[in-house]
């Protein structure tokens, strides 16, 4: 469909994809909650409004009853209409004067009385209205109503994010860069204010509410047809569990990603459908093991997970064998120790509290004390993990350890975001920031399922392969991670390739030639080829493509647009793939068909060999 008119036609009259039916098992009524605001206003305005009506009626009737003197000097009363007109402009302090003719003293007496009365009435009515607007519950109700309306009007796929803490913020930035719409719920009004202040491309609706309440989740679009996933990222495991539960019960079709630091909560979450549970401590242990065994794979993993625009991280050189010292035997310590031991490493544990069962290699004592550290014999160790839940302890431990043994590989856990500068100044070799681990992990899982597939299969390919791929990415795209995007070679995304794909004449290397000059290759790195559920990592240029293949590419936006023009425009595709010039307009194509053209397949074969 290279002709713009055809595209226009298709958009006008083509069958639009119908809005998918929501298979929600239960519908939660959140709109009634919001519309109650209006009723509240009406209820509270009853008394002031009635007061106003009474005051007006009394003043108007009173003025018509008082005898006056007409312009001709004869007694004349003001008609009810004139009286109403006079009272209207007097009560609202406009004051045109005494109309239709000058008043008698009796009328003036009544008008004086009614002026004071009406001022009181207006003050009461306006005062009540302003009080109502200041009212906290009313403002909350109003905010909920506005939020609900905003969410209901969303007409693009969005993710529901419960908890806008540090992890939520990082994720929101990454997804916003991808153009993915979000809806945010957080309990703290400070965080929702921060959401409003942050400079996002999209307008992200935020609500101050408890995410554990299903009504609030429903208001945030849980039963919206365009909701594509739920992310439970609050600091509270219980709330995350509640969100996971609600999403699994009300929208079983939605993917749920949930954060927790507790293995038992993770198990409870797994009881509801199949949520993807992210445990930052667990992941850090796995990452540390990967970093020890395959530094290049680890480097590639952290780079890809960091999202578009991220700098290439340094490749660490961790010791491959030797004894490790781990301080802190809490939930974090246990996960790391299990992973290190699984990697065949010897581990010494320092734990401040006395443990129930005495394990081999456990030293009891405060790790920040020099005496305790000396007991661990740091001089003969190769690595130290400072994993307590106190940043000050961790930092002092790192400083002491570095003084005792400058060659140590230092890994640390950062608990508070405010300590980031200190840990950076400390130059630790591996740093765990739980919120960042969660954000990167969720990003990798949700942004494109193909990236997650790639990350899952990547460690198996070995360290050398990862190092080569990093080299290739750096050569083509620079030190900053380019955007990752996927292409499905179907009639919608690659209409120009249709027939040639079926004939099996399209190779990946030819496809990635530049439409400007086909001798130049596009600066695009193919990361993954998915065909019928089997994945090929970094497919090479000779790979023959077939219909409905899915490809994951890394490359800059300009290169992506060039590739898209190859996929969509027939004449460009013919040039790029086969060095063949065909007219781009329909009329010329019809005309040129009259002359006999050589069979495309032959022509193409010749062209490709010429250029190789």
């Amino acid at each position: 469909m290279s002709n713009p008119l055809l595209i226009f036609w298709a958009q006008l009259f083509g069958c639009r994809e119908p809005v998918s039916h929501v298979p929600a098992r239960a519908h939660l009524e959140s709109s009634s909650q919001a519309s109650s605001t209006v009723f509240m206003v009406m209820r509270r305005m009853r008394a002031p409004l009635i007061t106003l009506i009474v005051i007006f009626s009394v003043s108007v009737v009173g003025l018509t009853l008082i005898p006056g003197i007409g312009p001709d000097g004869r007694p004349a009363r003001i008609s009810p209409f004139e009286s109403f007109y006079f009272m209207s402009y007097t009560a609202t302090t406009i004051g045109f004067g005494e109309l239709p003719w000058p008043f008698t003293p009796g009328q003036r007496l009544w008008v004086t009385f009614s002026i004071y009365l009406s001022v009181v009435g207006w003050a009461y009515a306006i005062g009540s209205l302003l009080t109502l607007l200041q009212d906290r519950s009313f403002r909350q109700a109003l905010a909920l109503q506005r939020f609900t309306r905003k969410v209901a009007r969303l007409r693009e796929p969005f993710l529901l994010v419960a908890g806008y803490g540090r992890a939520g913020e990082l994720l929101a930035k990454a997804f916003d860069a991808l153009g993915q719409q979000l809806v945010v719920i957080d309990e703290s009004s400070d965080r929702v204010d921060a959401l409003d202040l942050a400079s996002f491309h999209a307008d992200i609706p935020g609500l101050v509410a408890d995410a554990a309440n299903p009504h609030h989740l429903s208001a945030a679009g849980l039963d919206h047809p365009f909701c594509t996933g739920v992310l439970a990222l609050t600091n509270d495991d219980e709330t995350n569990l509640a969100v996971t539960m609600t999403a699994a019960l009300l929208r079983p079709d939605l993917p749920v990603v949930s954060r927790t630091v507790s293995a038992t909560v993770a198990e409870r979450m797994q009881a509801f459908g199949t949520p993807a549970v992210v445990n930052p401590f667990d992941r850090f242990g796995e990452h540390l093991r990967l970093a020890l065994n395959a530094p290049a794979s680890y480097q590639l993993l952290t780079w890809l997970e960091a999202g578009p625009g991220a700098e290439l991280p340094e490749r660490g050189r961790p010791p491959t064998d030797g004894r490790w010292v781990i301080c802190g035997y809490g939930r974090f310590g246990r996960e790391v120790i299990a992973d290190l031991r699984a990697g065949g490493l010897e581990v010494t544990i320092i734990e401040p509290a006395k443990l129930g069962e005495s394990e081999p290699g456990v030293i009891v004592g405060d790790a920040s004390e020099p005496r305790v550290l000396a007991q661990a014999d740091l001089a003969s160790a190769v690595g130290l993990v400072a994993g307590t839940d106190n940043d000050t302890t961790n930092l002092s431990m790192l400083a002491a350890a570095r003084r005792l043994n400058p060659q140590l590989f230092l890994a640390a856990r950062q608990n508070r975001p405010t300590s980031a500068a200190l840990f950076e100044a400390m130059r630790v070799d591996a740093l765990l920031v739980p919120t960042e681990v969660v954000a990167h992990e969720v990003y990798a899982q949700i942004s494109t399922p193909m990236l997650w597939r790639f990350i899952k299969e990547m460690p198996a390919r070995g360290d050398q392969w990862a190092a080569d791929l990093i080299q290739q990415l750096r050569h083509n795209c620079g030190r900053e991670l380019p955007a990752l995007w996927k292409v499905k070679l179907d009639t919608e995304q690659a209409p120009a390739l249709g027939g040639w794909l079926a004939e099996g004449k399209v190779t990946l290397g030819d496809l990635l030639r530049s439409p400007e000059d086909r001798k130049r290759q596009l600066r695009v790195v193919p990361l993954l080829l998915l065909r019928d559920g089997t994945a090929v990592l970094t497919p090479d240029g000779d790979t023959v493509l077939a219909g409905n293949d899915e490809l994951l590419f890394a490359g800059h936006g300009s290169e992506r647009r060039e590739l898209e023009s190859t996929l969509v425009v027939d004449s460009t595709a013919a040039y790029v793939l086969f060095d063949q010039h065909i007219p781009s307009s329909w009329v010329w194509r019809k005309l040129s068909r009259k002359k006999p053209t050589p069979s495309r397949a032959d022509d193409r074969g010749a062209a490709t060999t010429n250029h190789r």
Binding site: F39, M40, M45, R46, V61
Partner: protein
Amino acid sequence: MNLEKVIFGFFVLLAATLNFGFFIGDIANPDVHNIYELFAALAVSLIATVLKFGDRTQIGAVHLATSLVADLQLVAAILVWIWAEEISGEGLNVISTASVVSLSGGALLANLVSVVLLVTETVTFHRG
């Protein structure tokens, strides 16, 4: 006894009775229709409308609707009266009187529906 119900019933009934009082009499004779009664009917009807604000039940919604209809009819009647008396310069003649009174007759119908609703509500009310 619920004071709110007393006030509510009072205003709904008063709106209907005042309206009836204005409406009754020869439809084309201005002497038997007092403009103050029409004015009072409108004021009381407005109060009754405000009293019906904020009721979220189905019957509350119908109550509010009937009151709004009555208000609309009465305001129209008063506008016709103002036109006849002040603007046209002819004063109340047979035609304008008839239209004022017939408009108030429409309001009376709406007010009667209101009263019927009130009575129905009371009759179907069971304590406990």
